[in-house]
């Protein structure tokens, strides 16, 4: 892990009408780390993430992603990132191969690159014999692993994962996190939001958002120490209990 700052946010704010969804947050993400972005529903995680992905313009403050400015160079940011949304984001009525081809295609990858990498990926996921089956027929856990592979297929510098493991069983979640580790080991920075506190333990550093502000940011062990908590669960409860907002 280097100490290269790949994401920087400085006083980043988003206001909807009179509502401060994100209230001047500042943080850095280092290149190659797994950065956990935690917070209760409605804390402003998704809004903050959307600003970093170029899906939403900040109201004030500044931020850079992969060295590009979110105001001026959203197109360049989009080329450098991968994204996996809360909702499962593959096409159910397309085959596995077609999904991979499509997503690689929209990132403008060459046919040779796509062909070569598809073969490797299918082998890795043990989906070789399933390549021409519709995604609809896969179990949810497989779909999610595939969606993650597709999100990093074009070899982005950063991948944003928005609650990627919602609704899957613990075994699959574990496998999913192994894939995240592999991606991080290959140099991809992982920016992940989650509800599962055991997953927070897997992150290199986590930030916890409460009511649009970042309340804490450190490694899981340092957070537990400073708040005298036995687990991340406890850390989260101690911080999030202060929240005024609730719900989505």
């Amino acid at each position: 892990m280097t100490n290269n700052r790949i994401i920087t946010a400085n006083q980043l704010t988003k206001i909807f009408g009179g509502f401060k969804a994100v209230d001047s947050i500042s943080f850095d993400v280092h290149e190659g780390e797994i950065f956990g972005f935690l917070g209760a529903n409605g804390a402003g995680k998704t809004t903050a993430m959307r600003m970093l992905c170029g899906l939403s313009m900040p109201s004030s403050g500044s931020a850079t992603v992969a060295g590009f400015d979110v105001y001026k160079e959203p197109e360049k940011i989009k080329r450098s990132i991968g994204y996996m949304s809360q909702k499962f984001s593959l096409y159910e009525d397309l085959t596995i191969k077609e999904n991979i081809r499509f997503y690689a295609g929209i990132y403008g990858k060459s046919d040779a690159f796509i062909k070569d990498k598809t073969a490797k990926l299918l082998q890795q996921l043990h989906l070789g014999s399933e390549a021409n089956k519709l995604v609809r027929s896969l179990p949810l856990g497989w779909k999610q692993k595939l969606a993650f592979s597709v999100a990093i297929f074009h070899e982005p510098r950063i991948v944003f994962l928005d609650e990627p493991t919602g609704g899957v069983d613990p075994v699959t979640r574990r496998e999913f996190w192994n894939m995240i580790y592999e991606a991080a080991a290959s140099g991809i920075t992982v920016f992940v939001t989650t509800h599962y506190m055991d997953e927070a333990e897997y992150c290199n550093r986590v930030s916890i958002m409460v009511d649009g502000k970042i309340e804490a940011l450190d490694t899981p062990s340092a957070l537990k120490r400073s708040l005298h908590a036995a687990s991340m669960d406890e850390v989260f409860l101690k911080l999030a209990r202060k929240a005024v907002r609730s719900g989505d």
Binding site: S85, S89, E98, G105, I106, F160
Partner: protein, 368 residues
């Protein structure tokens, strides 16, 4: 370009995988043309009629057999008195009664004129009109023949041609109407649904995070439906020319050009609906009630606009289908050229540009 092509390819996969929808999209225009062409015309075949022959001479028998021989009539009953007429109609099966007066043949040969009374069941006025027209035509035909046989110097041949073949008159007006309906339905409804579906499944978000420009996403969505519409226009025109005998009197190129213009208008409308809604149901509801109904009611294809009250006539002006219907029927049926429809074309173009601009703007704003 490569990005764009992968997009278009993906859209085709969606359409191909959903066989039922594809079948409906391609089959619907064929069905509609056939239904309108055969079921909803004023043409009547083998209608049951009755004859009250008070004369029973060579001419009346010949005329009766000629009526019977025509494919329009079937003499189901021979009546014997004036009182039978009422009874026959009451029984419900008889739609028309032909009454020959006494001394029909005598009158005809001595005075060169005679009368026939046609009594129709006008509880269905359209059928009654059609039947009397047909019967008149058959009688005229007979009269014409005996005129030729007896070498008398007058002819009345030109008169009945207009009355004959009223089924073609029906087909003429509905073909452009069906085209407007089908294009509107396929393009608007399907574009709206396909975009909203991606919002529902979350794939739209992934797409927006990718470096693809929103405009490309939109155009790629529209391309397959544009192609599908061209197939539909082709099948409708082929069916009307070869099955329904409706000729294309004007320029085919102009007709196709105007149809593609209208297709783009519909696509733009679909796009606008998709950016205003978030669920497929809402999109479908808006497309059907907000667009399909006005297309049918206010385009002038079902009901003449001139007969509507002023507010409806004013509203009909913002219905794109009205202008397309006017253009298509002028070109196809009246055989007019661009010189006659340039104003309507300009209006339709203006609407298209306006709708596209608003739709794209809305699509982009949603991202901010």
């Amino acid at each position: 370009m490569k990005q764009f092509l992968s997009f278009v390819k993906k859209e085709f996969y969606h359409i191909r995988r959903d066989k039922r929808t594809l079948f409906i999209l391609l089959g619907m225009p064929v069905m509609q043309i056939l239904i309108f062409g055969f079921a909803l015309t004023n043409e009547v075949k083998n209608a049951k009629i009755a004859v009250l022959d008070n004369s029973k001479d060579a001419s009346t028998l010949a005329l009766s057999s000629q009526l019977e021989a025509s494919r329009y009539f079937d003499i189901a009953q021979e009546l014997h008195s004036q009182a039978d007429i009422e009874k026959a109609f009451r029984a419900g099966k008889i739609k028309l009664v032909v009454v020959f007066p006494q001394q029909f043949d005598q009158d005809l040969s001595h005075f060169n004129k005679s009368q026939i009374q046609l009594i129709a069941d006008a509880s269905d006025p359209n059928v009654a009109t059609t039947l009397t027209n047909y019967a008149t035509a058959v009688i005229m035909d007979y009269q014409n023949r005996i005129t030729n046989e007896r070498k008398l110097p007058y002819t009345i041949k030109t008169e009945y041609r207009m009355l004959y073949n009223p089924q073609l008159k029906g087909a003429y007006t509905f073909v452009p109407g069906v085209m407007a309906m089908v294009l509107m339905l396929v393009c608007t409804l399907m574009t709206a649904i396909t975009i909203v579906r991606e919002k529902e499944t979350g794939t739209m978000e992934v797409m927006l995070v990718s470096p693809v420009r929103p405009l490309k996403i939109i155009v790629a969505k529209a391309v397959p439906y544009l192609l599908l519409s061209i197939i539909n226009i082709t099948s409708i025109l082929l069916l009307s020319v070869f099955v329904l005998d409706v000729p294309i009197r004007g320029s085919l190129a102009l007709l196709v050009f105007e149809s593609i213009l209208f297709t783009i208008t519909s696509l733009a409308l679909g796009l606008l609906i998709s950016s205003a809604t978030n669920s497929q149901q809402t999109a479908m509801f808006i497309s059907l009630t907000g667009l399909f109904l006005p297309t049918v009611m206010l385009s002038g294809f079902m009901f003449p606009i001139e007969n509507m009250p002023l507010p409806l006539r004013v509203i009909s002006n913002v219905v794109p289908a009205k202008w397309y219907y006017h253009i298509a029927s002028s070109v196809m049926i009246k055989g007019l050229g661009l010189a006659a429809v340039w104003k309507e074309t300009l209006i339709l173009t203006g609407m298209t540009v306006f709708l596209l601009a608003v739709a794209i703007r809305k699509f982009k704003i949603r991202l901010a």
